[in-house]
């Protein structure tokens, strides 16, 4: 698959660079935009960003590997982000995560984001989603769910089907 940036996205990013005193400062915003567009940050995207911002690819690669929210592999169509910060952990985040893994045929003990075989769903733990009173909470793509029981989790999965 060849790497190409749509003209409007490139124009948007070009404009973004002007917001910062140094080109380099726009790195994170570039990566967010590219991940949003492509679904992940590919090697080509890193190289493109570096070139645009007069950096070396390694400078951008450092950022991509540092922040867990940047993915270097494509994720599923629906990404289940299960909160595992203290309140949710106490409220059953592990159980919720295990439930998703069981349903989707994934390894509970594996670290990081995992995607089901059909490429439709991804499951990962994330840190605090800022709703500690309604633990456990999760997000399915951009939708936020509170007090997610196993039953509710199944509903979310079904809705996404």
């Amino acid at each position: 698959m060849s790497f190409s940036i749509p003209a409007d996205l490139e124009a948007e990013l070009n404009e973004l660079v002007t917001h910062y005193p140094q080109k380099r400062s726009a790195s994170l915003m570039f990566l967010h935009a590219l991940q949003e567009h492509f679904g992940y940050v590919s090697k080509e995207a890193i190289e493109w960003t570096a070139k645009k911002l007069d950096l070396q690819p390694i400078n951008v690669y450092e950022l991509v590997t540092f922040y867990p929210m940047f993915r270097q592999e494509p994720a599923g169509r629906y990404v289940m982000k299960v909160c595992r910060t203290l309140s949710c952990q106490l409220g059953g985040a592990d159980k919720l995560h295990a439930h998703f893994c069981g349903k989707l045929g994934l390894d509970v003990h594996k670290h990081g984001l995992q995607t089901s075989k059909d490429g439709k769903f991804s499951v990962e733990f994330v840190e605090c989603l800022a709703s500690c009173g309604t633990a456990p909470v999760m997000m399915c793509n951009e939708d936020f769910y509170e007090g997610v029981s196993n039953v509710k989790a199944d509903e979310i999965l079904a809705k996404a089907q």
């Binding site: 090697k43 070396q56 690819p57 390694i58 400078n59 690669y61 450092e62 590997t65 540092f66």
Partner: protein
């Protein structure tokens, strides 16, 4: 220090602003500003001040020639500052001395607050305690945390013996580890580039290598990837760390993370004999240390000389040592048997058929006396000498003496390459300047070579003396050399010229002898012998001295010291120099 230090040669330096501080209770006056990694004056740091006070402050990430990073925390020291009252005036003790407040944590006043000595500027009245119990405790703590995920594989680590982690652990660390958890595993034997292998588990993330390649070489290839205890040094996937200076990162790596593929597992460093020498790969003349054991060279490492190479050297020069130990080195004094009077046509016949002339082994005494006999008989102007700008000043000087006596035309062979911005010079001869200063060649090196060739063609030049050059590559084809009555060749490795020689005198690599070179900028530097010459090979200056003595009748010196001093007396550019007075980093001569 405020008193003007005067020397005979230099005017008194301008007075330096100084600050009085105390290091371990001893008062010392240090300059307010000192050179940073680029040589620009910056406020003096605690670390520099401690160095001036001869108190070692252990450090990993700090390197005098790299930008300060302040990430390893090893140089933490306890310190105190003069206390001030609300009126911004110094508070005094009962005895009139300024009251010092030791710095402590604001929320935990019983705990001393250290500062990283590498990045903290000194201020007047400051007291630094590099030997205090609190400082010691900080060092212990830092070392303990650095060793948490370190594999402690010293027995199989190449850095063992020259590892700062080892040294500081012995000096400042704890005897036992309290760490009982599982260590984090990181990539091992990462192929970073053609000459570098990386062990991420040994790395303490000081980032010296990153800063070196980014700020010194300008090849921003390395970075820290991943996060927390998974942090590791890496190049961007699919790229390699490959510039002409990569091996310097192995030197500056304080631990065994970056290793040289060439030296890896070859020899334990404590067995290596270290000899101060020079790089001969170009005209820069980088200072280096030869690491050898039992007459085998294992590595070259740069030796710091801020007048020449700083602490660095290029990879090409560093790896250019293997030829010294090559199996086909010339190790015998050989003479071509001259049976028939028609030797001249005889040898040209041979060169036509491609067969090599038969050479017979002889002794130095026999060969040198035969050569002397021949040279004594030849008419003036019938001899030419092609020296090499890879030879030492002493050797070139002796060749010059020989040339003067014989009325010989002399020259040497230029060697050009591409220069870079850092160290590599376009002149690939280590001693072109020396060849010019000793008068063996003219400013434009090689300008006389065609004249010599023409002289041979015209039958005017009958004897050719060649040192260290394969003249067949420089306009002296085998046919032309076949016209000579006598071809005297000295070299180290066999080549087309040595195969045609009537007298073949085996010479020495620079690592096998002593001598001096003058680099392209006029820095005269000496080097010492690291390994013994192979077989019958002798330092060129030794047998040249004998030859010059026999031919000219002049007495000379049988020691390199005496020879150098004699040369310094006779060569204008070297006037006033003495072997003993040239330090390890050389002296600058007028060119």
């Amino acid at each position: 220090m405020s008193t003007a230090a005067t020397t005979e040669t230099k005017p008194a330096p301008p007075p330096v602003d100084t600050i009085k501080i105390k290091v371990d209770g001893r008062e010392i006056e240090v300059p307010k500003m000192m050179p940073d990694w680029q040589g620009n004056l910056q406020p003096t740091t605690m670390l520099q001040a401690c160095q001036l006070a001869a108190k070692e402050v252990p450090h990993y990430c700090y390197h005098p020639k790299l930008p300060i990073a302040g990430n390893c925390r090893m140089c933490l020291v306890e310190f105190g500052l003069p206390a001030m009252g609300p009126d911004r005036k110094l508070l005094l003790n009962e005895d009139g001395t300024p009251k010092i407040t030791k710095q402590v944590l604001p929320y935990e006043p019983q705990t001393p607050r250290g500062a990283i000595a590498c990045a903290t500027p000194i201020s007047p009245g400051m007291e630094i305690y590099p030997s205090s119990p609190a400082t010691k405790q900080m060092r212990e703590g830092i070392l303990e945390s650095l060793l948490i995920n370190h594999p402690l594989d010293c027995p199989i680590c190449d850095q063992a013996g020259e590892c700062k982690l080892q040294e500081y652990s012995v000096e400042h660390g704890q005897a036992t580890s309290r760490f009982v958890e599982a260590k984090v595993h990181k990539p091992k034997a990462v192929d970073l580039g053609p000459r570098i292998l990386l062990d991420d588990e040994r790395c303490i993330l000081c980032t010296r290598c990153i800063r070196f390649t980014k700020d010194i070489v300008g090849d921003d290839k390395l970075g820290v990837v991943n996060r927390g205890s998974y942090n590791s040094i890496a190049a961007f996937p699919g790229t390699t760390f490959d510039n002409n200076y990569t091996l310097n990162t192995v030197d500056i790596c304080p631990v065994g993370a970056l290793t040289s593929k060439d030296f890896r597992f070859q020899m334990r460093v404590w067995f290596l004999k270290e000899s101060k020498s020079l790089c001969t790969s170009c005209g820069t003349g980088c200072n280096l240390t030869v690491g050898s054991r039992e007459d085998k060279i294992y590595r070259f490492e740069p030796r710091e000389n801020n007048a020449v190479n700083g602490p660095w050297m290029c990879d090409a020069g560093r790896l250019n040592y293997k030829w010294v130990g090559r199996a086909d080195r010339l190790t015998e004094v050989l003479v071509q048997d001259v049976g028939q009077a028609s030797r001249l046509s005889h040898s040209s016949e041979k060169s036509k058929t491609g067969a090599t002339p038969v050479l017979r082994k002889t002794t130095w005494t026999a060969a040198l006396s035969e050569i002397t006999e021949k040279l004594k008989k030849v008419p003036a102007g019938s001899v030419a000498i092609v020296g090499s700008a890879r030879q030492t000043n002493e050797e070139l000087f002796l060749l010059g003496k020989l040339a003067k006596k014989l009325g010989a035309l002399t020259d040497s062979v230029p060697r050009e390459g591409e220069a870079d911005k850092l160290l590599v010079s376009a002149d690939r001869n280590p001693n072109s300047t020396g060849a010019r200063l000793t008068g063996l060649c003219f400013t434009e090196m090689g300008i006389h070579l065609p004249k010599i060739a023409d002289g041979i063609k015209a039958g005017k030049i009958k004897t050719l003396i060649v040192f260290g050059e394969d003249v067949t590559k420089h306009g002296f084809g085998p046919d032309l050399l076949g016209r000579l009555d006598t071809l005297i060749v000295s070299d180290i490795l066999p080549n087309a010229t040595t195969r045609l020689a009537h007298y073949l005198l085996p010479g020495c690599a620079h690592a096998e002898k002593r001598g001096t070179f003058v680099n392209v900028k006029g820095r005269l530097q000496k080097f010492i012998k690291a390994v013994e010459p192979k077989g019958d090979a002798r330092p060129e200056w030794e047998f040249l001295h004998e030859l010059v003595h026999h031919v000219t009748g002049h007495n000379g010196f049988v020691s390199i010291e005496g020879l150098f001093n004699q040369m310094a007396h006779e060569v204008p550019a070297f006037h006033g120099l003495e072997w003993a007075k040239i330090g390890d980093t050389g002296v600058t001569v007028q060119i």
